[in-house]
Symmetry: C2
């Protein structure tokens, strides 16, 4: 074990691989070449379409101890990963590592396969029950949590080697050209899966919508796809994209959103060329709505909106408030429709979105990003992975990537959740380092990182409730009391990789 | 020297590299991994825009003996390659290899730099004076002629390593996102340059149209571009794309076109899902026009048109005769306009177009392709590189790639050119092997390769002028006489690579 620059004790070896401790957000330089696939040759007349997932898995050469992946664009409606693991199990292949782009609660169905040894671990973060059970010591499977940009990095450096990628393809032709725009399982952008298509040793397109050649537009093309398999259903359309993302009506959320949009305005960012990212939560959407109004009032034409795209951003594109949307993932059905019809609504890969090890990701061009937290601390560190009960319940997503890239990263968070104070002395788990977090906005006050004295001064001038982070913490704790500290065992359940691949923290088994 | 399977004596070493003799079109299997670029990191705030080409060349680290590339989408209007070489010369860098996607007559300006040793050779074919002078022994520079798919292959295997790629970008932002659709030097698709962006050690975008971030749509993106340079002018718009491509009015050409379209019809290909490629010559366009009429008459909906795209194919897309256009290169201004507005008009890379060493190129899905020739021979071999004077004057383009991929490859060629017979005992230079050529159509008769006895029978049944290739040759020679055989020195001016990288022929110095 070694202490990283944030004071966290992290392992030097985890899951039999050497790990480096986190040092700082920007200085680690990559060495060597990008990874690449084996050269192959496909002559005219070759038939890529196989009769079943089983046939495709056999054709892929998947064996004990190998690594597979799927993407999470179908979100909690995904049926493919569970389907694949059932077939793998039926073929008596064991010890498989899953390096999907994310795991959702629907994949709790994998738990028996973890227990039986079909699945040995996760080269990806896990949302929901798997993380909870691992945190309790009820299942044993090493978990390596990565940011979206960090996963792209790990694929591109060859640190994660996917043997067989199963790509859910909502529209696909017999030669493997695909997009996510049309069909019963339409999910929009396939941005996270581009990396799998580029780097996996074998790429299997799985579709419930086999279309005449050629599918167009094309998100992932025939030159990268080895086999095509038809299944009855890729996903549950009602859960593929959330259609319940609406602006919050909660007064606390609305207050936070008001403050956050005023911070953006005060920072002088709402001007021509403004670029912006926010998530799909009710408060985030309220910020987007406020920002939209401010842009309209000021007659500002922004440059781009990025990230998980919602109908709010689609509206802003269509109103001319953005020139372009960079879409790594669609969060709602309006976004899915838009990406299938608008040439200014661009699908981008996770590499282009957020990989720190290329010639410049989209996050580097962001003016402002609105992010959430389960906890923050007085050093501005942010936790999004574990809850205050210590359980690993959430993936990092693009949190650390956008925080590092954007000129202004704003954490919006209620000061109290479930009677617990959200501003801590030290977060349970560090996901995103405080040096990349600029402002924390709660309904009780706004804390500005010391690296922005001018912004702080200007916010005070505008009579916004700026508070020192410790003062804010004390006000909150005065109401909630100091929560009983969590107790942990020594066993490490998961490591939290920073986007550059260093270990920023780890998650330990919770003492019951 | 070694004799390849077509009986041509080819070198085992050329330009200090080992070469393999051609064997057959499909069996050579690649080994190893795809090439890849060095990993790099670009943090927020990095400025890619440099003040001049000179600054960019210095920043790129270009040194004596290295290799550079440009693309040929600006065709004979390109100003960039000459500009780059002038700056390289001014920096006293010598012994540079040019691995551009093609060289055009406008690049005759490079001849003094070849003579002075600034340029040492070409990892690409050359159109025009450079090839002629090399053929006469007036300049000395090894030339390796590749097909479009062969260049993609050589880049992807690492056989050609480009140190610095200069990519002419008709619309480009400060972070290197670019397309060729808009601006004073708009050329449409940048399909050939995708490979350079992916594999070159350093990528410099050069633009005469620096646009606010972000350019969208994006053909080549910021993650691959290291520097951006603004110049006054990338090209001469009147020569960037040819606007003079019209259907031939020559009765010989019209007769050939009529026969060729009847061959396609007779082969049973004009049905739903039909896919088609043809070039921009007057006869090719006449074939396209005939095919269009036949499709309309039969109520057929095709799948895709591919290749260099002309207004004829744009019309067919807009009329619903094709579902999709796969555009590696725009041949006229209507194609440029279309690719900038129509989501079914897709830009594809040379890799996707024609690389034999990936999971399946577009050429593999072609039903019919119409191709030209400078000569053909009684074994159906085709020459497009040298003229009957023996001078290397033309690049291969996608000739051998589409011939190998398409179900039906048709060579359309007048029987006599400049009083010389076009059907020979043996072509001067083999570009495309006869085993991938299905039908040769002249105004005097149609020769069908023996591998298609059914098609031959059916054509005869339809009373088309089918002739044995030797009979056709004799009829032609009866009028022209037998031309005096060319005489060559032993020195090899250029090797002609087949698409798989083997040497199918070489070009020798012409005896004066």
């Amino acid at each position: 074990m070694v202490r990283n620059s944030l004071g966290r004790l992290v392992p030097e070896i985890f899951n039999n691989q050497a790990r480096r401790p986190y040092c700082d957000p920007f200085s680690l330089q990559p060495t060597g070449q990008r990874a690449s696939r084996t050269l192959r040759r496909v002559n005219p007349g070759f038939n890529k379409v196989l009769a079943s997932l089983k046939d495709a898995i056999i054709a892929s050469g998947l064996k004990d101890g190998m690594c597979i992946s799927t993407h999470h664009h179908l979100r909690n409606g995904d049926m493919l990963l569970n389907m694949v693991v059932r077939v793998i199990d039926s073929l008596d292949i064991r010890d498989i590592t899953i390096a999907s782009t994310s795991i959702h609660p629907v994949h709790a169905e994998l738990i028996p396969y973890i227990k039986s040894g079909t699945i040995r671990g996760f080269e990806c973060g896990v949302n929901g029950l798997i993380g909870e059970m691992a945190s309790k010591g009820e299942i044993s499977c090493p978990i390596i949590v990565r940011t979206h940009g960090g996963r792209a990095r790990a694929m591109s450096t060859g640190e994660v080697k996917v043997d067989v990628a199963f790509i859910a393809a909502p529209q696909c032709d017999r030669y493997g050209n695909m997009n996510g725009y049309y069909g019963p399982s339409a999910c929009g952008s396939l941005g996270y899966a581009h990396l799998d298509a580029e780097y996996a040793h074998c790429v299997i397109a799985v579709t419930d919508n086999l279309h005449d050649y050629p599918v167009s537009p094309i998100s992932i093309d025939q030159t990268q796809v080895d086999y095509v398999v038809q299944v009855e259903k890729l996903g549950d359309p009602s859960k593929i994209v959330s259609t319940t993302t609406r602006i919050t009506k909660d007064p606390v959320g609305l207050m936070i959103a008001k403050y956050a949009s005023e911070v953006i305005e005060t920072a002088g960012l709402i001007k021509d060329g403004f670029s912006f990212q926010t998530g799909a939560g009710g408060t985030s959407l309220a910020v987007a709505d406020n920002v939209r109004k401010k842009m309209l009032a000021a007659g500002v034409k922004g440059s781009f909106g990025s990230g998980g795209i919602t109908s709010y951003f689609v509206d802003m594109l269509e109103q001319g408030l953005f020139d372009t949307l960079f879409d790594v993932q669609c969060f709602d059905l309006e976004a899915v429709k838009s990406i299938g019809r608008n040439m200014k609504h661009l699908e981008i890969s996770a590499d282009m979105y957020a990989n720190p090890f290329n010639s410049g990701a989209v996050v580097n061009q962001l003016d402002a990003v609105i992010l959430g937290a389960t906890e923050v601390d007085v050093d501005f560190n942010v936790n999004v992975n574990t809850e205050s009960n210590g359980y690993l319940l959430h993936n990092t997503g693009g949190h650390s990537d956008t925080a590092a890239g954007a000129k202004l990263s704003i954490i919006t968070v209620p000061s109290i959740r479930g009677r617990l104070p959200i501003v801590r002395d030290a977060v349970t788990t560090i996901t995103t380092p405080g040096e990349t977090v600029d402002v924390i906005v709660t309904e009780r006050g706004i804390a500005v990182n010391d690296q922005h004295p001018e912004l702080k001064k200007e916010l005070i001038k505008r009579k916004l409730p700026v508070k020192d982070i410790r003062q804010l913490q004390q006000e909150i704790v005065a109401m909630t009391g100091i929560p009983k500290p969590l107790e942990f065992e020594d066993d490490i359940v998961a490591v939290i990789e920073y986007r550059d691949g260093t270990i920023i923290d780890c998650v330990r088994r919770v003492k019951e």
